[in-house]
Point group: C2
Chain length 465, copies 2
């Protein structure tokens, strides 16, 4: 199992000012946590609670449907191109980056066992998009358009450009190269998919984008590149079982939730750093950053009080960011809690050859680079303790589908519990609605003309183009 | 020229609580800023001041030497592999990502005009390193080992692994495929390079790693992939001239420095977000994050008072992170200042075809995706104003070598001025020294045995492997 070690947030280790009296706090919040976990599990099947994400690991129908399609198109495509933003792509990208061999898209077809390369177009940068279109053979590319509402402007714009190019290049055959992942009943993408005859996958109701990784949004891309999704769902189920335990002393998601909540509200840590010591987990950190930021950054609580909650999540990569951020983490303001994400066993053991004896670097020779990576992580942790900076360690036995299922599900439950502690709605995003309307106005959508004028005044000379 | 628009930090726009009375503040700090800029320029040639970074754009000898070598090896290599961490690679990666066409490493040799692909190995992840070695033909790869001290454990370990493999594959010829960028006189890498006969490039004294992008550390990689470094240095020189102006009303680096300093110290904004609306500038944001974090995150000021200064820098990419972070930026704690980084003219104009008329997305048809990107940026800015969140806009006419020279140099001067406002040393990094010693101890380096035992006690059960 994934494990959590919270020793280094204790006041015995980092002092009263920054540390927590953890046994006491666990005891104080015992009943609250019990109630939160019990509520989560009893409400998860109720509509309108936005808790369908808790059931995704058990959705045998979707899993079967996804695997069937992936089997059907095996060997047919050289590339998969995901059109999606935020919750529609981050989870997919995170798990693919973690589980595929690094530099997957540079491997030969044989090295990839005939599975396709996979590209995530996560922006509408015209230069980036143009370059990508130049390197992809559209005849051999499967395009997966992902948007729940079917109206996300960026994704639909990407799709319109792709659709036009593919139709010109492939004529009517292009329809076999486009699939859609969207709402089951409503939205323009659903409507267009029906008209055009695209194969379609559905995002269940009551699942916010950032909690959708284990719906078809993620499972389909995983399956297309040969990742074993049964192992992923087994990991989710085993973690779900473990996290049903309502006793905080045996529930790591509740422990890390409470630690983060108290560090934020009692100790002024308004920043949460996710620091994997593994390049393969770098997008897992990005995915966590969305989950944490969008779920917990809220103006109002459930009683409509203005609260402006939320920690700002940051990604840092070990050892890379030791050489850029740790000076600040150690010596700057003590305003962070750091999550070390450690891998116990890498796929590779890489030995540093025993050359350059009798020099200042001979101590490296004959050791593995794995040992050096671990030494760096532990040295960084020790220096954080010296500077009285709180940190926890989440350890993963190995980077496998099973443990990625466990890890991501654990973070989801942790986020849900933290939201409950803040007493906020962890599943909405009211703070981005207004800017969508502004975008419609600036793009000349009918009905938004007044808004456009208001906006131009509001921005004045900060409209630069 | 690069421009700065600071309208949206004014109290007239975002209110007294979060905004600044900017004319008043500029006036208050007029003399301080004048003195700081005058000091920078009069001290930059003095040894021990760590201001040699201000002279890098004028170093004709290095520029000539770099260009000569790049011309000599033109067409000889398919790949350049940079071994380096933090300041030794971030700047190089940032500028290459910005100036090369996106997906450069996927382009064919012809599309690359025979220039090599370029890989930055910025970690010691064994799986990542193993995969990279599997995709590179070492016979056609030029390896550039970058470390000023010559003793950075991670880089030297990378080098030892590479050297061993290359020697086995290329026999004595491997020496032509290795170059070193290091100190001119001291260090193990310098010594080994002399013994082995590697071509060597030098990092001047008094240049901290994070300020070294315009030394051979960056200029050589740029030159190797065909980036015009004369245009870069012209940009630096023109910006340097502009920033010699000691009047804050005409110096954008001083303006942004003071704004950040006051937002941090008077308005509680302990986070600085760098948000380029361009995928190509994503590593520029990473480079800024190192520069800002490591330069300003300091425990002691110059009078040895404990101050724990520094804002935590964060990278966000527009539009991507609108879909993950803006909910928090708008509704969460008002603890950030956001730097929009905008590109006025992209290389590509990409039209969204006028299809799907009479649907909810027909408003997109016939517009460019460039227009949509700009509308998104401006909508985000308008909503930040609604939520009274301070933001500035830095605008870049076009992503060219000239403007990248301007931009990065501007950020360096801004950082130097901010350091002076905090009265801290912006060029040291005392907070990472102790963890280097811990690493030596854990790796069994002779002389660190006692430290190793102390460390094991300190970490107790948080040593996981």
């Amino acid at each position: 199992m994934i494990e959590l070690n919270y020793r280094n947030v204790k006041s015995e280790i980092i002092g009263e000012e920054n540390g927590l009296n953890i046994e006491e706090e666990f005891n104080n919040y015992k009943d609250t946590i019990h109630q939160i976990i019990a509520d989560l599990n009893s409400n998860k099947d109720k509509p309108g609670q936005n808790l369908q994400w808790m059931n995704l690991g058990y959705n045998e129908e979707t899993i079967w449907y996804v695997k069937e399609y992936a089997a059907m198109v095996e060997n047919r495509f050289d590339n998969v191109l995901i059109l999606g933003l935020g919750g529609s792509e981050l989870g997919g990208q995170a798990v693919c980056e973690a589980l595929l061999p690094p530099y997957w898209n540079f491997l030969s077809k044989e090295q990839r066992n005939n599975y396709p390369r996979i590209f995530f177009l996560d922006n509408i940068d015209p230069d980036q998009m143009n370059s990508l279109l130049n390197i992809l053979d559209l005849k051999k590319t499967l395009v997966n358009v992902i948007t729940k509402s079917g109206s996300t402007a960026e994704v639909m714009a990407q799709y319109m450009i792709l659709k036009d190019r593919m139709e010109k290049e492939l004529c009517d055959d292009y329809r076999k190269n486009v699939i859609a992942t969207t709402d089951k009943n409503v939205g323009i993408l659903k409507q267009l998919s029906d008209q055009e005859g695209y194969k379609t996958f559905f995002i269940p109701d009551d699942v916010a984008g950032r909690f959708s990784v284990f719906s078809a949004v993620g499972l389909l891309p995983f399956s297309l590149v040969g990742i074993n999704i049964d192992e992923i769902t087994q990991g989710i189920k085993d973690m779900d079982l473990a996290l049903k335990n309502t006793d905080i002393n045996y529930n790591i998601a509740a422990q890390n939730a409470l630690i983060h909540y108290l560090m934020n509200t009692k100790k002024g840590k308004n920043i949460s750093v996710m620091m994997p010591y593994s390049s393969r987990l770098r997008y897992i950190a990005d995915w966590y950053c969305q989950l944490w930021a969008e779920s917990l950054g809220k103006q109002k609580d459930k009683n409509n009080n203005t609260v402006n909650t939320g920690q700002t999540p940051i990604k840092a990569i070990g050892v890379t960011d030791q050489h850029s951020q740790i000076q600040l983490y150690n010596e700057g303001p003590n305003d962070k809690i750091i999550n070390f994400l450690r891998v116990k066993e890498f796929d590779t053991n890489l030995e540093i050859p025993n050359i350059f004896e009798y020099t200042g670097i001979s101590y490296l020779g004959g050791k593995t680079i794995n040992k050096l990576l671990n030494a760096e992580a532990e040295s960084t942790m020790a220096s954080l303790i010296d500077y009285k900076r709180p940190n926890v360690t989440i350890s993963i036995p190995k980077i496998t589908p099973y443990y990625m299922g466990q890890l991501l599900y654990m973070f989801e439950v942790q986020t849900a519990i933290t939201g409950a502690l803040y007493n906020i709605d962890a599943y909405d995003q009211p703070g981005v609605e207004q800017s969508k309307n502004y975008t419609y106005a600036l793009m000349g959508r009918v009905g938004y003309e007044d808004s456009a004028n208001e906006l131009k005044q509001k921005l004045s000379d900060t409209i630069i183009i």
